[in-house]
């Protein structure tokens, strides 16, 4: 199974994400933002964390208009898998592939620590976590305060598209939302960093389950 990791100027979790994908058994190709096509046969696109284009204008706004993003949208429209983490989540909301937006943290501070989460919405990303089992992942963001209007939030909950919720909301996110799924459940955006908690040396391996189950599901498909 093949994964692509998009690299923007200012991406800084791209290599970590590639390592996590590889560890789970995926073949990974790095793809520069100025490319206009994904390599042939890509099953999964990873949009990494970082500060694409210096977070100028709005986090993810410039990246969402980069040349490669047209191909990423086409991949998603074909039913391909897309995982956006942190800045990647911001990029996905800016492209419109996921609803809502990420605002400045309610406490105005950049937060870098490990937080508790619960998985909800059924998907290849969440199946490694029981619905009511708390697990922990690191967050590191200044703009992770998930916002959507009430109708959209209701719709996300009715369609079981809230992938992850914080157990103790760190940033003011509406309804404690830490990650959301697309309507076809194949595009996930999340603020926490599973790739930073995916091997023993990280001191936390809760993130490895996401990649292991994702790779398994893609291989079985």
């Amino acid at each position: 199974m093949k994964a692509a990791v998009i690299v923007f100027p200012g991406s800084n979790c791209d290599r970590d994400l590639a390592v996590a994908f590889e560890k789970a058994g995926l073949q990974v190709q790095m793809v520069w933002h100025k490319d206009t096509d994904l390599p042939a046969g890509i099953d999964l696109v990873g949009i990494p964390g970082g500060f694409s284009f210096g977070d100028y204008l709005r986090c993810g706004a410039i990246a969402a208009n980069a040349p490669i993003v047209g191909a990423v949208k086409a991949h998603a429209d074909r039913g391909g898998y897309v995982l956006g983490i942190c800045n990647g989540f911001q990029v996905l909301t800016e492209t419109g592939l996921l609803p809502g937006a990420l605002l400045r943290n309610a406490g105005l501070k950049y937060i870098c620590r490990t937080i508790g989460l619960r998985a909800e919405g059924a998907s290849v990303y969440t199946q490694g976590y029981g619905r009511d089992t708390e697990f922990a992942l690191p967050i590191a963001h200044h703009d992770g305060n998930y916002f959507a209007d009430e109708a959209t939030l209701d719709m996300l909950e009715q369609e079981d598209r809230v992938a992850f919720r914080y157990t103790d909301n760190p940033n003011g996110s509406a309804r404690d939302i830490a990650g959301v799924l697309s309507a076809n459940r194949r595009v996930l955006g999340m603020m926490p960093h599973p790739e930073r908690a995916s091997e023993a040396a990280h001191g936390n391996e809760d993130g490895a389950r996401l990649f292991a189950h994702l790779a398994e599901a893609l291989t079985a498909a």
């Binding site: 204008l57 706004a61 208009n65 800016e94 937006a101 105005l108 003011g172």
Partner: protein
């Protein structure tokens, strides 16, 4: 490239200012922080502070406002959370 002003011919440029604000109902923590700071400085009666962005552009003279609106919709504002106002100077 059609929006780039000519450097040689003055008068072929129109200046446009775009105001981008968070929509009503979207919490503005930065505005809140500024409001608290004003209170701490002794300015009484500051009920609400909203912080936004101003983007000034030199455009080719005669660029229709609908084109500027398109720029706002596609890039300058995120209409999920922000509203914009176009001012031709």
């Amino acid at each position: 490239m059609r929006f780039l002003p000519s450097k040689t011919s003055k008068g072929m440029i129109m200046k446009v200012r775009v105001h981008v604000m968070l929509k009503d109902g979207v919490l503005d923590p930065q505005g809140e922080a500024v409001r608290h700071a004003l209170g701490a400085l002794g300015f009484d009666g500051v009920g609400s502070v909203r912080q936004g962005k101003v983007i000034e552009m030199d455009l080719a003279d005669g660029t229709p406002e609908s084109t500027v609106a398109e720029m706002c919709e596609k890039l300058l504002a995120n209409t999920v959370i922000e509203s914009y106002r176009i001012e031709v100077l």
